[in-house]
Subunit: 519 residues, 2 copies
């Protein structure tokens, strides 16, 4: 296990980082350095584009850099913030009023093409007019000013907004949804739903024994049973204590925090591009599947039953690790064979960037999962569940707010925009440009780049080592592209769904420029 | 331990409940049944009130009931919602546009005095003009439409809003605050901060060993240490797995969910009113303090160190259980003596309803806590922490959103209103009317009511048994007062801070009427 305690996805305000940034490239207008390359006719030039009218109407025509990032204003604000809060993770401060579409504007007036989108959580770009309209509609005011306890006293339009929002994009086979406030809460509650379902199944009735009732309040078996969840190395499912027990990415996220001793299986370490290494990848996947099934059998035998298996369709935070659709199909089969719930965590993959609304749809299964959790680009957290996972009694899955109805209102509009503007197809097209461009770049710089991979715009590439990756992130940012890291040496690309082919070309140009500046 | 699996704080849409409700009192205009009583001259009559002008300007002059609750429209909406979500907890559907001040209006046009306020989470009443103004201010639009990853790319006004919001009401001794999305996430992350702090202290350095780094990723000691938190029977700190290990209220919240084996101390079971039973209450508190300290010593000795103690200033969900300021003072002393962090959970008690902004301020201590967590009426979740609890490295306490800046904007205005309208003093005055009225009621109905208790408007009373309590909640609601239960047989009163003396009188009148209808 690498000792990787500090993994900044981009620069922050550490003195040492500031020093290293001061010595990096000078601030300058980025636009002037853009040049058509690799046969692109019009990167960033609006008038030559025929597609993308809608977004262009409210968007800038390219990055525009005035200072290094963070600039002087960001630094002053960071100093102010530092007196009340940690700023070690802060990259820079933003002007969210001025940001538009794919462009994030910072407080120093730097305008950057955003290929990270607030850690993959901005669905249709900044200040989309459809969302502004929701906010200015007087009939939504009551929802925005008064936050309901959604589980007890929902607003009149609650059902309707769920039907036109979350349920309009429900994965196949799911007719029920539970909203939550964030990704971690979504998984925490999904885990609880799994445990409750599994115990009901074990005891053959939802009615607990008096002994179970008594012991549950004091954290003891049998009321708090010794059930487990199987997760995968490299998986990320959140940072609260339950989620954290299934998260296995970086030490810094878990160190010093007590955890549950639950089974952890290997996630396939595949060679890319996947279609060129099918046979050896299949062997690796078979090994991992066998290990997962062995763990389930073994843990069941020792009485610490595996109630569920939790996995991402693509391991995101862990380094954009892919597995084949066949792997997931077989894993789903294993969960059915052993009576485990199958939770597909689509917090980062969901919402359309893979070219399908849910990444697991690529598997092509009729019964892909028992629970699908979401957050980020869905604006609200929550999970879809099969009927059998809904607890029969009140207050088993509950909290004060159960999400935030303002997010449901916004999401309903986001989904409309995705449909009317065919943004899933857009993600496929832009993703094709991106991935082909990344292949070109790794061919051009084989000593620096490798493992270009992706589905839709959900792409990534590896850099030769962690330090070089971090330096490349900084260089790209100072040239007007915001990117994020993942895993130990990967860069993840997470544009919004309004990211069009010409944005992809523009991104590739700037990224290429940044690479050439690496020693 | 009582077998109390289903504890509805008020009616919901279970068939059986609907049946029992159908047989209860008829729908009617409540206003007509109001009469001055116990010397009150003007309950609910605006023109005779001299105080309370500001709120009255935007408020109704009393409840107005048109149907039973839930009414026909609520029932139809519940049927619709039931096809996609559990409705077993739903009380009724609300018209949040029409609700104002202390009055919650439902979709059937019933207007109710709200003494529960969305599970104690509405600070200054419904649709307060100051909050509407925040929402309609065009310069806030960017914040509402684009949700930032606050830990990485905060908006320009982030510091300023924290300074004028959360930090303007920071408890004594706290200069740092961390925002989170909800109460559970706040405590989960506060727990992590405690564990990190404790381990750093144990090892004498924040730098882990390679063995710790390696094992942390796979949930094993020493990386994931076997540390514990001490909590109290009857305490409630949230429902995610970490929080749930410190929550010991009702079986239904914990049953079937794996937990941590952590020490649990008795919370004092006091006799009320506290000032009449000082000596025996002091004995009970001494017993509990001794038990808590014994547990810390014992668990430390067996190597499962108690890193922190977590407690509410008043156990709310657990039944509005109070302990004396002396108890908390001594408990704080014990945590210092044994090097445990002291986390005061003010999720429900914080925000002003006790007459001080934080309930723990009543203890009068210079160094009351190491961490104070909040949510609900603070609109955002989060916690204040001493400097030493802020992790030295990035991404130890982190998630995508780290709260929601829209809530910080609203909170800043809430705090202004609390200050300019002297709402803490208001809570003291209204609370005095409430508590005296509750004393009167329990004198009048000693076979039904007991243990009236409270600080400020944070009051409660016990009903003779759970079924009677639940029936009383329904009767009060059909007469135009929304209340909530807590513990096994208590009613908790949680009005907003704009709840004035005349609201208290009005509430007492209606509550009295409801009681008289109990067989």
């Amino acid at each position: 296990m690498a000792y990787s305690l500090v993994v900044p996805p981009a620069s922050h305000f550490h003195t040492s980082t500031l020093r290293s940034m001061a010595s990096s490239i000078l601030s300058r207008h980025l636009a002037s350095s853009l040049r058509p390359s690799r046969g692109l006719s019009a990167s960033g030039h609006r008038h030559q584009q025929t597609t993308a009218k809608r977004v262009e109407e409210v968007e800038f025509d390219g990055p525009c850099m005035k200072t290094e990032v963070p600039g002087p204003r960001s630094k002053i604000l960071a100093q102010q913030l530092e007196s009340i809060q940690s700023v070690v993770q802060v990259n820079f401060f933003c002007d969210y009023e001025e940001s538009k579409g794919n462009y994030l504007v910072d407080v120093d007036g730097n305008r950057m093409l955003d290929v990270y989108t607030q850690i993959a959580s901005i669905p249709i770009g900044y200040n989309h007019p459809a969302l502004t309209k929701v906010m200015t509609d007087p009939k939504n005011m009551g929802t925005f000013v008064n936050r309901p306890a959604l589980g007890m006293m929902p607003p009149e339009q609650f059902s309707e907004k769920l039907v036109n929002g979350l349920m309009a994009v429900a994965p196949k086979g799911f007719s029920r949804v539970q909203t939550m406030a964030c990704g971690s809460c979504s998984n925490e509650n999904a885990y609880k739903a799994i445990f409750i379902w599994y115990r009901n199944k074990m005891r053959g009735t939802p009615e607990p024994t008096p002994e179970e009732v008594r012991t549950s309040v004091i954290n003891q078996v049998p009321g708090c049973p010794d059930l487990t969840l199987l997760s995968f190395m490299g998986g990320f499912h959140g940072r609260t204590l339950g989620c954290l027990a299934t998260t296995h990415t970086k030490a810094i996220q878990k160190l010093d925090v007590p955890s549950f001793d639950w089974p952890i299986a290997s996630f396939p370490q595949l060679r890319y591009p996947l279609d060129q290494f099918e046979r050896e990848n299949a062997r690796e996947e078979a090994r991992c599947l066998e290990e997962a099934e062995d763990l389930i059998v073994k843990w069941n035998q020792k009485g610490r039953h595996v109630a569920g298996v939790v996995i991402e369709p693509i391991q995101a935070e862990g380094g954009d690790n892919h597995a084949s659709f066949d792997f997931y199909t077989k894993l789903r089969g294993i969960t059915k064979k052993h009576g485990c719930a199958f939770l597909v965590d689509e917090v980062q993959t969901g919402g359309g960037s893979t070219g399908k609304f849910w990444a697991h749809e690529h598997w092509g299964l009729d019964d892909p999962a028992d629970i699908v959790s979401f957050s980020k680009k869905m604006l609200t957290g929550g999970y879809y569940q099969k009927d059998s996972f809904q607890p029969d009694k009140p207050f088993r899955i509950f909290n004060t707010w159960l999400g935030d109805h303002t997010k449901n209102l916004l999401l309903t509009e986001v989904i409309k925009v995705i449909k009317t503007e065919n943004l899933l197809d857009q993600a496929k097209r832009s993703g094709k440009v991106m991935l082909e461009g990344l292949y070109d770049l790794q061919d051009k710089y084989p000593h620096l780049l490798s493992k270009a991979r992706g589905i839709g715009t959900f792409c990534a590439i590896d850099v030769k080592d962690e330090d070089t990756r971090n330096l490349l992130l900084l260089k790209a940012r100072n040239k007007g592209v915001v990117l994020g890291g993942c895993g130990t040496q990967s860069i993840r690309f997470r544009p919004a769904l309004v990211f069009k082919e010409h944005h992809a070309h523009l991104f590739l140009d700037i990224f290429n420029d940044a690479i050439t500046e690496l020693k």
